[in-house]
């Protein structure tokens, strides 16, 4: 809530007065133009007392009305207050035609008060002005104004261009405006007649309006549907543009590269594989930006990096998941070494399987190479023994290397309850 709106609310709650605020029309807590509230805020008096004074002066010859209108016209409106918040504070509210800014309501109230004051003055001066005529003219004007006011500039253009139709949510207000205008016109026409004639006329006008409404209803519904469709189309178009941009930056570039390197099958495979992975990540989520948050994403990211660097396809299956703690990180690093080893010394296909259970993690890396005998490992292949077996041991886990049935090697890693891995 802004500083200008705060005093009114605080006074409502019966709290102490803040430093005297400037004299201006209140944006919140008002009944009509916010004059009484503004004056009350400025004087530090209860708003009800100010209202009583205004009302009393108005009854005593209309001076209150004139004063109110003058003040309303002269005073600056308070800076845009948080009107929604004020409404929740329980500030009394009435005659708000335009919840968007409140200007419409002020204007209507002002015009009405001006008319009442002018009539009173004219009658006092002896001019033959009938209050009924003025009132009906005012009602008609107010109706027309409400109709006009609730269309913003864009709507007004459309209104003029299409000869009808406002925003869908303006419907009730439009109806109120039209009804007011019609009522005013009827009152004007009936000026001087007996009021008993009024009832059938009002009834017939209401019937005509209802009929018009019924006739216009399908058109209005269709218009609203068109508007919705247009909006949806815009959203779709934005999505399509985003997709096109992504495909251009990724797939089209890769395709161009593939065409240029068509003589090199290995390069083509690597390019296609990397692009496929990137596109999958984009389509099905869990992309590179999610890497490192959990065991599964870390495993996928590491394997993808190896795959990209060496151009050998590695299939990854991860079952379950768990947060990436220190032991899990060690496992991921050991897994990476094992995959690197399989890619370098084994043969495709390389298969990685990670199973994260409630209390333990198991990982397997399998290749289809000639197989490895750890006891006969040449010194340059110490990587497997040190970086995989040693790393797992230090992390409190275990690792084993064995020939897989049907050829190739399988490295198994295990974290958790100590048990010889199979």
């Amino acid at each position: 809530m802004t500083t200008t709106a705060a005093p009114a609310a605080e006074r409502d709650a019966g709290s102490a007065c803040p430093p005297r605020p400037p004299l201006e029309r209140a944006g919140s807590g008002r009944w009509l133009g916010g004059v009484a509230c503004g004056v009350a805020a400025h004087l530090g008096a209860p708003v009800a007392a100010v209202r009583v004074v205004f009302a009393g002066l108005a009854l005593a010859g209309g001076a209150g009305v004139v004063g109110y209108v003058l003040l309303w016209a002269l005073l600056r409106p308070a800076a845009e207050a948080d009107t929604e918040g004020a409404a929740e504070d329980g500030g009394p509210r009435r005659a708000r035609w335009s919840p968007a800014d409140g200007a419409g309501g002020q204007l209507v109230a002002g015009v009405a008060l001006l008319a009442v004051g002018a009539t009173a003055l004219a009658q006092r001066a002896g001019l033959p002005v009938s209050p009924g005529a003025v009132a009906s003219a005012c009602v008609a004007l107010a109706g027309a104004f409400v109709v006009w006011e609730q269309l913003d500039a864009g709507d007004r253009d459309r209104w003029l261009a299409r000869a009808g139709g406002g925003a869908a949510d303006g419907g009730p207000r439009l109806l109120v405006g039209v009804l007011l205008a019609a009522a005013g016109v009827v009152l004007l026409a009936l000026r001087g007649e007996d009021t008993s004639v009024l009832r059938p006329v009002v009834a017939s006008v209401a019937a005509v309006l209802a009929g018009t409404g019924l006739l216009l209803a399908p058109w209005a519904v269709r218009f609203a549907a068109e508007l919705r469709a247009e909006r949806a189309a815009r959203v779709r178009e934005a999505e399509r543009a985003e997709m096109a941009a992504h495909l251009h930056d990724s797939v089209l570039q890769t395709l161009a590269l593939i065409q240029r390197s068509s003589a090199d099958p290995a390069a083509v495979t690597t390019l296609a594989r990397a692009q496929e992975r990137e596109l999958r990540a984009w389509l099905y989520g869990g992309g590179p930006d999610a890497a490192g948050r959990s065991l599964a994403t870390a495993v996928r990211a590491e394997v993808a990096a190896v795959e990209e660097a060496h151009g050998v396809p590695v299939e990854v299956v991860v079952v379950g998941d768990r947060p990436l703690g220190r032991p899990e990180e060690a496992l991921v690093q050991a897994l990476r070494e094992a995959v690197l080893n399989a890619v370098r010394h084994g043969a495709a296909p390389v298969q990685v399987y990670v199973e994260a259970g409630a209390s333990e993690v198991e990982a397997f890396v399998r290749d289809h190479g000639a197989g490895v005998d750890l006891d006969a490992v040449p010194p340059d292949r110490l990587g497997l023994r040190e970086s995989v077996l040693g790393r797992m041991a230090r992390a409190g886990g275990s690792a084993a290397v064995r020939p897989a049935p049907g050829g190739g090697t399988e490295v198994s890693l295990r974290l958790g309850p100590v048990q010889e891995p199979r």
């Binding site: 299939e315 379950g320 399987y353 397997f364 399998r366 049907g406």
Partner: protein, 227 residues
């Protein structure tokens, strides 16, 4: 291996390039597969499969036409068809998709296996033969999905084979080995059982996958969007 004579195959894929690629690859392998029909959308597929009653349908998961149900719709509309030899028309799902819900939709609609389009020619041939013999074809990814969906990693293991919502200890073991990249033969050797027994276990898992009402199945697929 099944009945004598070539394996009669219908190719269903909306990409002509994929169809001709598979066709020429299978022809080059001379593996005794005869492509008796091709289709590019749901309605065409139903018509061709009904007319030719092949041994195996290689069915793309994502297929235009029909009521928009894709491969699963073809499976539903072709349910109960049998070949001239009296065996049911069997379906191997083929997809580029990693989205588990897509794959699960066709498997639950009756496909007996799932392979990705990156599968090698010889592997595809072997998978088609296995499907024709009435066995199930599980890729490592599908096995991983099954393990995840049935909560096998959390030690949720069935005590009797009749339970639909959980895997038995042996089925879990078989699934794990397949997920580790073991061929059926290698699984058999590892567990010291016959290949036929492995196939029986895999078929049992497939049945559970198709019949289980385990609600995690679809929810998991929706959550993970990955196999």
């Amino acid at each position: 291996m099944s009945a004598p004579g070539p394996l009669r195959l219908v190719l269903v894929d909306d990409h002509r390039l994929v169809r001709s690629g598979v066709r020429s690859e299978l022809a080059a392998l001379a593996g005794g597969v005869e492509v008796v029909g091709e289709a590019g959308d749901v309605d065409e597929a139903v018509a061709v499969v009904t007319a030719t009653a092949p041994d195996v349908v290689l069915l793309d998961v994502h297929l235009p036409g029909g009521d928009g149900g894709g491969g699963a719709e073809v499976l539903r509309r072709c349910a109960g068809l049998t070949t001239a030899a009296g065996t049911p028309v069997r379906v191997l799902a083929l997809s580029v998709s990693d989205a588990a819900d897509d794959v699960i939709a066709v498997v639950r609609a009756g496909a007996r296996g799932y392979v990705t389009k990156t599968i090698s020619g010889p592997d595809l041939l072997a998978a088609l033969r296995r499907i024709a013999d009435g066995d199930a074809v599980f890729s490592p990814r599908l096995a991983g999905f099954v393990l995840d969906a049935f909560g096998a990693a959390a030690g949720d293991v069935a005590t009797t084979d009749e339970e639909l919502d959980r895997l038995s200890a042996r089925e879990r073991e078989v699934m794990r080995l397949i997920a580790r990249g073991y061929a059926y033969k290698e699984v058999a050797r590892e567990l010291v059982i016959s290949v036929k027994t492995v196939e029986t276990h895999v078929s049992a898992v497939l049945r559970k996958l198709q019949l289980s009402s385990r609600h995690e199945l679809t929810r998991w697929a929706a959550d993970r969007r990955l196999l």
